[in-house]
Subunit: 395 residues, 2 copies
């Protein structure tokens, strides 16, 4: 189970601590994404060395391969991947919808009907595996059972995540179903947790997810209904799915303070360093995003002086660390010239060194935010980060 | 410069120590291959942690990208890649011939004329870059200058490496030219080293290479002529280029003892664990091969119980370490089931964990050989390894 302890506030921003059976995590926290039980190019010891305390794994991917039954048999996700920290699994819903195409006749400007790869019904969602095309089914009950088998510290409700810009009618219809699904998830979680407790297994905390797109009243209703279920934590889903950053920041600033204050607040799938700082300002505690690892593999690096494309010819003879203000292993050890060379030569070690830097950067940004909140100078911290990004490497 | 110190012998097998300005290396030693100034998937700290003390880098690749002038400007190969151990560079000749196709009208059953990508003349070799098709030229002088610019501890003579099974006439003609090239390499090395010494740079030791295919008399002549130049070390080239393992072992067993005993002996581009043990038995001190890193990326792992294909379904639920007798990071941390999962899921971390194991295995095999030679039980050690490989994982 997860318990939230509030340590300090600074405006809406808050510093806290998550307590679980497997340890504690300081918040606000960034969770690196380990889709298939591996944060791409990194090992658990790398994540530990850079201070990561909780990672996210994707239920959809692990359900399809190697299968949750295998991971359960091998002692759960932590043991399977030899990770000593905490884990959070998403419910698979986001991937079902984003990796497939909808076939439902969606009204009100909702998602266009697709070629039948994903079919949404009240009972659950039928979709085709992106690996072998096989028909698969996920429902609130099944997604919860799968996550309990994986054994993460935090598991997520099974929801539909429509594009932000889908029409209001679609959002209303989808949200009503997602809210019904949330009650089913809770029921499955209570029952499954009781069975796991009898077997002496570490408990998993279910977080509810509030959807509602960019519609303030739908978000408010979703949060209110979810909060009534008194779950261990709550997430905002359906942000960073097509809307502008400004629209997201506005929505998060409005919604986050409505989430139950005594529970952890998680903004799903977000985002850039700017997005994280906006989320923290709104009172968000937890973030996850593939951005640092995915962009690292494309040579795009996040620094205290903004984004850097390591392929750039300007780095050919540059012996400085990538980010002179960074204490990560990559910046302590290697030059911009070497990182550029490795990337151009398609060396996997380059992707790894880039990933180490980017993940460290996101983790360190949150560590800085925690300190700043504690000291009551969060907005000054946020402004200083922005000024560094705008100044650029030569600033 | 490199000096060889003999520590112990056991039959023809010998244990020794290489002394260079950058440190000492115990022999027999395996040198992991860092083609483009990176041992694929690994970092310098990984290599250090597993006891690697000398790595090989490829002149051909570094000459084309990022260019030896850049690496020289950035302080040489060691500094460029942040590697604290020793380095050895090949001369580029092998890649010129293996990555191109010959255009020379070769007599006596030699290599077939190709479409003009590689042209061999007395002066040197013209070839096309595999990166951009540009015309490039390497000669004994140029290969030596490039290697001196890279600044490795050991640099290699520029030679032609014909397929073992090329006809005798071709080998004779090629060898005569390679021997003339060796004298030119020596001259360029002496002159270049004097310039580098004036600049206070760490010296590089030139090793001669004896070719001659499977022809005992050609090999004997090549060794004799090379030895007369009194170079800091000697290599056997042109093995493991098409002949059977038995033919190679026979040739190496015959040739190695003819190499100058007071100098390090290097068997280039070899090989499997069996090949290494045969080479050690013949008195070889140094080996390099892409085998452990390349096969690791294909899921083929070397263990004390023989070769293992990690993709195999038998490992699906197998929680044992890959090699129960291995002390590498991968075997201490992860299960066969997880390694199999990572490989099937195309996770780069899997390629890395496989590479850590394979490179460690080759290094540990040589550490075992050194101990066994010291104890006068090398043949028993070699037999025990073979028995383990034959027993298999279930043996």
């Amino acid at each position: 189970m997860i318990r939230y302890e509030l340590l300090a506030t600074d405006g809406a921003a808050r510093r806290g601590r998550l307590h679980s059976a497997r340890g504690t995590v300081e918040t606000p926290v960034f969770m690196p994404v380990g889709t298939a039980a591996s944060v791409k190019t990194l090992e658990p010891r790398d994540l530990e060395a850079m201070g990561a305390r909780v990672i996210l794994a994707n239920t959809y991917h692990l359900f399809l391969r190697p299968g949750h039954a295998l991971i359960e048999k091998l002692g759960g996700l932590h043991r399977f991947m030899a990770w000593s920290g905490l884990t959070l699994t998403d419910s698979g819903g986001f991937q079902v919808f984003s990796l497939g195409e909808r076939s439902e006749k969606a009204g009100g400007g909702g998602p266009k009907p697709g070629p039948g790869l994903v079919t949404i019904a009240e009972e659950g969602v039928t979709f085709r595996s992106h690996l072998d095309g096989s028909r698969q089914f996920l429902s609130p009950e099944r997604a919860t059972e799968i996550q309990l088998a994986l054994g993460a510290d935090v598991i997520m409700a099974f929801d539909e995540c429509p594009p932000s810009l889908a029409g209001r009618a679609y959002h209303e219809q989808s949200l009503a179903r997602t809210q019904r699904w949330l009650e089913r998830c809770r029921h499955a979680w209570v029952q499954g947790s009781a069975r796991r407790a009898q077997a002496g297994l570490t408990p998993s905390a279910l977080f509810g997810i509030a959807q509602g797109g960019l519609h303030a009243d739908l978000r408010a209703r979703a949060i209110e209904e979810a909060a009534a279920l008194d779950l261990p934590g709550y997430a905002l889903g359906g942000y960073a799915v097509g809307e502008t950053p400004a629209a997201m920041w506005e929505g998060v600033a409005r919604d986050a303070p409505r989430l139950p204050p005594a529970k952890p607040r998680y903004l799903m799938g977000v985002g850039t360093p700017e997005d994280l700082l906006a989320g923290v300002a709104a009172g968000i505690d937890m973030f996850d995003c593939v951005l640092p690892t995915r962009t690292a593999r494309n040579g795009l690096l996040f620094t205290s002086r903004g984004r850097v494309n390591i392929k750039n010819a300007r780095f050919t003879e540059d012996e400085r660390p990538l980010d002179e203000a960074c204490g990560c292993h990559t910046c302590r050890t290697h030059t911009r010239a070497y990182l550029r060379h490795l990337f151009r030569a398609d060396e996997l070690t380059g992707l790894r060194l880039n990933s180490i830097h980017n993940v460290h950067y996101f983790l360190a940004l949150m560590a800085g935010a925690r300190e700043a909140i504690q000291a009551g100078r969060y907005e000054a911290f946020r402004r200083a980060q922005r000024e560094g990004w705008e100044a650029g490497l030569d600033g």
